[in-house]
């Protein structure tokens, strides 16, 4: 099995989901994580990320970040085990992140191959 990092990005959207929509999405996430935990594909469910943080650069310059100009915000991550990209994509296709018009960047972890 190869390990992949799933990086979730959500659209930078002014329209806030309603309480009911949040609950529905959350239940959907629970099903997805449950299904692929049972199949052994989820190595680490990961976590969500708060909206803001700090960025430090060469030279020690620290700023508040991330910067909101981009159309998508980094929302969270998971580590998934799959035989190949094809299987990883198959798992990603069912992920609720895509239902809310977000995207998932899938990257193979270099050291575990």
């Amino acid at each position: 099995m190869i390990k992949y990092l799933f990086v979730y990005r959500n659209p930078q959207d002014d329209a806030q989901p309603s309480a009911e929509e949040i609950q529905a999405a959350l239940e959907h996430w629970g099903q997805w994580i449950g299904k692929y935990s049972a199949s052994g594909n989820i190595v680490d469910g990961g976590d969500g990320l708060k909206a803001s943080g700090r960025v430090i650069r060469h030279g020690g310059l620290i700023s508040d970040g991330p910067f909101a100009e981009s159309k998508e915000v980094l929302g969270g991550y998971s580590v998934i085990a799959a035989r190949n990209y094809e299987e990883a994509l198959q798992i990603a296709r069912e992920c609720p992140c895509l239902m809310s018009e977000g995207s998932i960047e899938i990257r193979e972890l270099a050291g575990f191959n």
């Binding site: 806030q16 949040i22 239940e27 629970g30």
Partner: protein, 427 residues
């Protein structure tokens, strides 16, 4: 530390109401908007984090902690911190990594939550807001409805609703903070009950709104009613009577629909599908509402609903008693709608001529002209007394006023009968 997602139905909606209530009490009504945004931040964070990690052991505490900190962050950014509320709340900042421990001390207990929520509901019914705004604002703040959902439920445009809610917030921001007043709840009780009554009716009678939203409205109204009735300042005979009324109506909710989109009018409803347990509960509420000597319109409306619920068959409806209740109702709350309903009951009790006479006595200046039921009743009673031309005129007009589906079918069948010169009462 965390487990699969297992949330009660409408968990986030209810949490929204509770969190906004609790945090508004702590941070003041002038910070209502900050609190509202903070609750949304907490919800989004829950979605991001719980989705991946699973649900925390104490989801309510988790949300409270995060929403509280988000409020504080936001207030600090607004730099009101030092002057306004900073020192008193310094110790409030909570360790979000603490797994439930250390936070319980701050997390309000059930009765405090009830009190906060009722205070917030009272605030939503602020006298400076129109009744329409009170209803919308209560749905937003105490029931966790989104603007889109409120617009859908109250049959309005989302943008109009957004503006209405924004204006309401502005009004309240500039109003004196009423939460400090001890007698606030008692003083506001009549408007609060009216808002709950309107929310329920909107759900129960709304013509076009989507079925699930309608049920949600009724459910929310019942929850708010229960909240008021549990509170020492809210538990009055009119509150109990309103609960009785809503519970009786709810008992008939399921039987009003044959299949998801086929409503059934009262005479044709399958009474075995009425919820006996709820009817029993309604009777208990009504009995307890009889304590004291106060007679509110809710008492009479509940008593009328009880007569319908307790009649074994439509043909056995005690119309005479219902007319008496409407007589009393007209004395304490003379509205054209009550008079219309009284006339219909009168027609069943004493025949169409009596009903029609009473209907024509209505002061038509006060009648909401676009309410189809007046023309529907006029049309049907004219038909039953054999005045077919007038009958057709009114039935056509009723049909032009966009009645709900079941009523539309009924009106068409009455219109056909009037055209055929048939004066028989419907089977």
């Amino acid at each position: 530390m965390s487990g699969p997602i297992q949330l009660a139905e409408h968990f986030f909606r209810q949490q929204s109401g509770q969190l906004i209530a609790t945090l508004t009490r702590r941070f003041g009504t002038h910070n209502l908007e900050v609190v509202e945004d903070a609750v949304q931040v907490a919800f989004m964070q829950a979605l991001q984090s719980w989705g991946r990690r699973g649900q925390p052991v104490d989801p309510e505490g988790w949300l409270f902690r995060v929403a509280c900190n988000a409020t504080l962050d936001s207030l600090r950014r607004r730099q009101r911190w030092q002057t306004k509320i900073g020192p008193a709340l310094q110790e409030l900042q909570m360790d979000e990594s603490a797994p439930g421990g250390g936070l319980r001390a701050d997390f309000p207990c059930e009765s405090e939550i009830d009190d906060d929520r009722l205070q917030l509901l009272c605030l939503c019914c602020h006298p400076q807001l129109s009744v329409e705004s009170q209803v919308a604002f209560a749905l937003r703040m105490t029931c966790g409805f989104s603007t889109v959902e409120i617009a859908k439920a109250l049959l309005s445009e989302t943008e109009t609703m957004q503006r209405r809610l924004t204006r309401a917030k502005e009004t309240l921001r500039n109003a004196v903070d009423p939460l400090s007043r001890q007698d606030f709840i008692s003083g506001q009780l009549p408007s609060v009950l009216r808002v709950v009554y309107l929310i329920f009716n909107e759900g129960y009678n709304s013509c076009d709104a989507d079925q699930s939203i309608r049920e949600d409205l009724c459910e929310e109204a019942l929850r708010l009613g229960g909240l008021i009735a549990r509170h020492s300042a809210g538990d009055t005979p009119p509150t109990r009577a309103l609960m009785a009324l809503m519970v009786f109506q709810s008992a008939r909710f399921a039987a009003r629909l044959q299949s998801p989109n086929e409503p059934v009018l009262l005479p044709k409803q399958d009474r075995s599908r009425w919820d006996r347990a709820l009817i029993g509960e309604g009777v208990r509420w009504l009995r307890s509402a009889a304590e004291g000597d106060e007679l509110s319109p809710y008492h009479l409306e509940a008593a009328i609903a009880a007569e319908h619920c307790l009649a074994p068959r439509f043909e056995e409806t005690p119309w005479l008693r219902i007319v008496e209740r409407y007589d009393l109702l007209m004395q304490i709350q003379p509205t054209p709608i009550h008079q219309l309903n009284r006339a219909i009951a009168l027609a069943y009790a004493h025949g169409p001529q009596a009903g029609l006479k009473s209907l024509l006595d209505i002061n038509w200046d006060d009648v909401p002209r676009n309410y189809f039921l007046f023309d529907a009743a006029l049309g049907e009673l004219h038909r039953q007394v054999g005045q077919f031309e007038l009958a057709q005129h009114h039935l056509r007009r009723a049909l032009s006023l966009n009645p709900p589906r079941a009523e539309r079918q009924w009106l068409h069948s009455r219109l056909a009968a009037a055209k055929n010169g048939c004066a028989e009462p419907p089977v």
